[in-house]
Subunit: 201 residues, 2 copies
DNA sequence: CGGGTTTTGGACTTGCGGGTCCAGATCTGC
DNA sequence: GCAGATCTGGACCCGCAAGTCCAAAACCCG
């Protein structure tokens, strides 16, 4: 059933998802009409409903998945390699740079508030993303503990949760205020705290 | 012009705003139809457009302002009284309790993602809220510095920014994952850090 | 009271946009 | 190269909800 897609079909489907994602990033979920996506991807109603029988909802779900994956990909290879303080710094810089560049166009913002409520599956996608994200950070912390760079008595999961919260809040505040200060402050102070813990412990 | 409202008119207007706010909290911005609000507030189309000539957009803006104000009010008197560690703890508990109780129904969630983009004014409302919020926290930190409970070399504004980011992210994660852990972790670790700073400094 | 203003109710219009349908083009494997 | 499947285009339908309009009720003040 899912395996009834030609090479060409697959390409078209991908084009639609990518186009819709771009459109949504640019103008917000609720401002994007199906027709906009069609125009921007040189496709027709027929195609869209051919690949997404459940219409907009299904498309939005696919976009959400696409964007969620992208969020982590954008942080690689730094995120999977938090094995030294310079590496942490590089990751931190990548995050700041990335969000600074994208500015107000957060792919998840709308998808959480908008899709998250209506589609039951979108919630799961975001939750999954957050969980993976946090776990990656936790792995980094544990690694640093193994090398003695972070105190052993630090609760890695708890610290990762706090750091992730800081990031999310920082991005949220970037979206609403347009300033990157909060993200930087949250990242720097939290990381600084992890480093300080090693010395005192 | 703005002063053409009878006592009764004022009451009706307020009733519409409050009703719309409740409705939005309950079911999300984009799920709320004007008719729903009318039904729930025992009012008619005529009244709604009488008090909000610009229709839905204007109403949403009024709701946003109403909810934004409420967010800070809900933290009082704790937020304006961060003058001792027990007071900070009380504020922290209030926050956790409040968001735990309200669960998924965040008044600002939709308003940021939804209204924030379309209405230029909504952006300003959220920004204003965040700014006031952060300032209140900063005042608390400075007060603690004046009593020596927090190290003098802490940048109050920066610390407040980080704390606020942690809170926002914690709430965001509560919304998507349904767990309060992140909010607690962010609050506790950040506050703990402020306390620790005093001892080492 | 009485004239002017504000308030209220609800029927009606309108446009937008998601979803349907189907005919024809294109591909795929044998 | 042909039979069956997949892909594509776009005209059409249709419901929904925002917004309009106006007449009647309630209210305010001299």
């Amino acid at each position: 059933m899912t395996r009834a897609l030609t090479r060409k079909g697959e390409a078209t489907r991908a084009r639609i998802v990518a186009g819709a994602a771009a459109e949504i990033r640019e103008r917000g979920v609720d401002e994007v009409r199906l027709e906009d996506v069609l125009a921007h991807t040189r496709t027709s109603k027929g195609q869209l409903f051919h690949y997404f029988p459940d219409g907009k909802e299904e498309l939005l779900l696919a976009v959400a998945q696409h964007e969620a994956d992208q969020v982590l990909v954008d942080q690689e290879p730094m995120l999977s390699n938090l094995t030294s303080w310079p590496a942490w710094q590089a990751w931190r810089d990548r995050l700041v740079e990335r969000y600074l560049a994208q500015g107000v166009k957060c792919p998840l913002n709308g998808l959480l508030g908008q899709t998250g409520r209506r589609a039951p599956g979108a919630q799961a996608i975001v939750t999954g993303l957050m969980w993976r994200w946090q776990e990656k950070i936790a792995v980094g912390i544990r690694h640093m503990q193994s090398t003695g760079d972070i105190a052993a008595d630090v609760d890695a999961d708890r610290a990762a949760a706090a750091l992730l919260a800081g990031i999310q809040g920082g991005v949220l505040l970037l979206l609403s205020t347009g300033r990157i200060d909060h993200l930087e402050a949250a990242l720097d102070l939290t990381i600084e705290r992890l480093r300080a813990g090693a010395r005192t412990a």
